[in-house]
């Protein structure tokens, strides 16, 4: 997981550049906020997300490829795990009592605009049944907030049709049954693509001007090698194709 730290006091320009870089870094990451009171389920989900994010999904390959091109080695998926709905709300800046502390922000930024802090969340995954605030309650809060366009996925160990219906009606994108498997996480790929579309556009622009400097690196997973090779020249052309692939 990537940890972003604010260093010593920088000049105004350095601070702005750092902030921009952080935003750019975040734009190239897919950031998942996962909410589950079970440590074991959090561990499992973390592993599922990591594995699925590098198992050769063309879209993620693009991100990684371009990250390498810019000389930045990084993981594909950024994940934040919290163990309760309240902590999730706190993270999203939706609790009234939250202090908005960020060294790089301007002093006048209001707590209601976490986006100004460069924080981005592409996907929220929450357990349904939790002590205190349930996943359904969290869903409702999120859908009534600044974060309403972020896809929310509910996870539950119980297959209750009325519950599923209720969550979907409230705006949940998917309802996954536990125990989670790779095939469940694969269902999230369309949301991945949808959410990072604007980042793709940005990266595409960068790519077009720097195409000579792209190098294809052959790394660990042999499944990915042929896909990387196929990707190199016509990345811009591939993007519409990826959207097609996403529809399962």
């Amino acid at each position: 997981m990537e940890i972003m730290e604010s260093g010593a006091v920088d000049t105004q320009q350095q601070e702005e550049e750092k902030h921009e870089q952080q935003t750019e870094e975040e734009a190239e990451h897919f950031h998942v906020l996962a909410v589950d009171d079970s440590l074991i389920d959090r561990k499992l989900l973390e592993r599922l997300l990591k594995v699925s994010s590098y198992q050769g999904y063309v879209f993620m390959e693009l991100i990684n490829l371009l990250s390498n091109a810019f000389g930045r080695e990084r993981e594909r998926a950024l994940m934040t795990f919290v163990d309760s709905g309240d902590k999730a709300l706190e993270y999203l800046g939706l609790l009234n009592s939250i202090d908005n502390v960020n060294a790089t922000s301007s002093s006048s930024s209001p707590p209601q605009s976490p986006q100004q802090e460069g924080m981005k969340v592409n996907l929220i995954m929450t357990d349904y049944c939790m002590p205190g605030m349930s996943g359904y309650d969290l869903l409702k809060r999120v859908k009534g907030s600044y974060w309403k366009d972020v896809p929310v996925v509910i996870m539950s160990s119980e297959n209750v049709p009325s519950r599923i219906r209720m969550c979907l009606e409230e705006g949940a994108e998917e309802f996954l049954l536990k125990p989670l498997q790779l095939s469940d996480v694969e269902k999230l790929q369309p949301h991945l693509l949808k959410s990072l579309d604007h980042s793709c556009k940005r990266i595409d622009n960068n790519f077009n001007t720097d195409s000579k400097n792209i190098t294809v690196s052959n790394k660990s997973n042999s499944n990915n090698v042929s896909k990387r090779k196929a990707l190199s020249p016509e990345l811009a052309d591939r993007r519409p194709k990826m959207k097609g692939l996403a529809v399962v």
Partner: protein, 152 residues
């Protein structure tokens, strides 16, 4: 047969028996699929977490059931947790005991709950021993130059 082949044969047979006897189910296979060179200890780690969690929950259940007036909702919430985590790692027998356990909680049947608690303890101990055997075999295979065969 050389040592490595023997060990691999042992592992295959032992693993098959664990599935056959219902100690683990397909979810355990899923866990193994998630293990690779970048996370070579994943299964061991998650399984260890589970056993710790299981012990803690069992202690909580025991305490709750000892009370003069049993708070069955409390017991049920512990059972629910254990059911969830056992399901997530593929500990099938423990999960099944939890299903029965829940019904006794709902019926507010103390005796039934205590019996289930005993069963959970028993299954926990058995699974622990079995998985330790499995992990030891895997380590021996790797130590002898082999690699762990992919689960079917």
């Amino acid at each position: 047969m050389d040592l490595l082949s023997q060990l691999q044969r042992q592992l295959a047979d032992f693993t098959a028996s664990l599935y056959r006897e219902g100690f683990v189910d397909d979810q355990f296979t899923q866990l193994q699929k998630l293990q690779d060179e970048s996370s070579p200890e994943f299964v061991v780690e998650v399984v260890s977490l589970f056993f710790e969690d299981c012990e803690k929950l069992v202690n909580n259940m025991a305490k709750a059931l000892e009370q003069q007036v049993v708070d069955f909702k409390q017991v049920d919430s512990h059972v629910h947790q254990l059911k969830g985590s056992s399901s997530s790692i593929g500990a099938a027998r423990i999960k099944n005991v939890c299903i029965a356990f829940k019904t006794f909680c709902e019926a507010q049947n103390r005796e039934g709950c205590l019996r289930c608690l005993q069963q959970v303890n028993h299954e926990h101990a058995q699974l622990k021993t079995n998985l330790q055997t499995l992990f030891t075999l895997e380590r021996q295979i790797v130590a002898n130059g082999g690699s762990i065969p992919a689960m079917q």
